[in-house]
Symmetry: C2
């Protein structure tokens, strides 16, 4: 089981959009060029973000995407769930019901014990993702990246932002 590569792309796009001044938009074309990924397919990931209300879109020339909320109010979990969907990574198919020793009309009062453990782990995963916001990421990136690259990247993006 692997996360889609769209998750990675979506997160990187959000990181870029976090640096955009209020009210400016950046097109899927520019985002794909910046990250070196196919434009059309990246569009699908951004579409997911749009449906989830994480980004706002505008059409026409100088149109594109911007964050729909302050970077501090968008978490990794929001982005991941927007692309991957919200359902648990573990699906319980209730095979315990196939046990030949069970009465046919027997009804369990609790979810399967195995599923409970798997879901708890899934919850821990989501909690970790929910604890980090795009603002946190922005701060980390500013510490990690050389100022020169950051400056040039910002300039590059502003040149293309509508």
């Amino acid at each position: 089981m692997n996360l889609k590569n769209q998750v990675e792309w979506a997160l990187h796009c959000c990181a870029v959009l976090s640096n955009l001044p209020e009210g400016r938009y950046l097109s899927a074309r520019s985002l794909s060029e910046f990250h070196g990924v196919p434009k059309e397919y990246l569009g699908k990931a951004l579409q997911g973000l749009s449906k989830a209300g994480i980004v706002h879109t505008t059409l026409g020339p100088s149109g594109g995407y911007r964050l729909a909320l302050p970077a501090g109010e968008i978490t990794f979990l929001n982005v991941v769930e927007a692309v991957e969907g919200r359902k648990s990574t573990f699906q319980c198919s209730e095979i315990r019901a196939n046990n030949p020793c069970r009465p046919g009309d027997f009804c369990d009062d609790k979810p399967c014990a195995i599923a409970r453990v798997m879901w708890k782990a899934d919850e821990a995963w989501r909690q970790t993702l929910a604890a980090v916001s795009l603002a946190d990421l922005q701060q980390t990136l500013q510490q990690d990246l050389p100022a020169e690259i950051l400056r040039r990247s910002t300039e590059w993006l502003l040149d293309r932002a509508g």
Copy 2:
């Protein structure tokens, strides 16, 4: 991204094998019949457990599988990794290197900040799974299930255990 259904099957099989008396074996045929899943495909999941050293196998009539370790020393994580593989759910493809504003020879001293967060979440997931052993599961099941079903199931299994 979904976990394979083999993960679920493998865990249920381990739960059953935990209840088996020392030295007895249970065949893939019986395990598949007990859980109502295709025999041949279940075999592949058990094969994974075998390669990981979680179960021990014997051939011939009255052959099959048994746990290779005490139930208290086998964790959910062991079983999940035996079937799913050990690599992280998130793969960083280093698209940050495609940034057109980077010097071509620039070399990052840290892993990508986004990947670090995703890997941390993955780690939290694994830690939760590593905290629960098959012995814990066995105890939970004995509390959850009616004694009657447990007794009949054990009897059913012992009838078929070699």
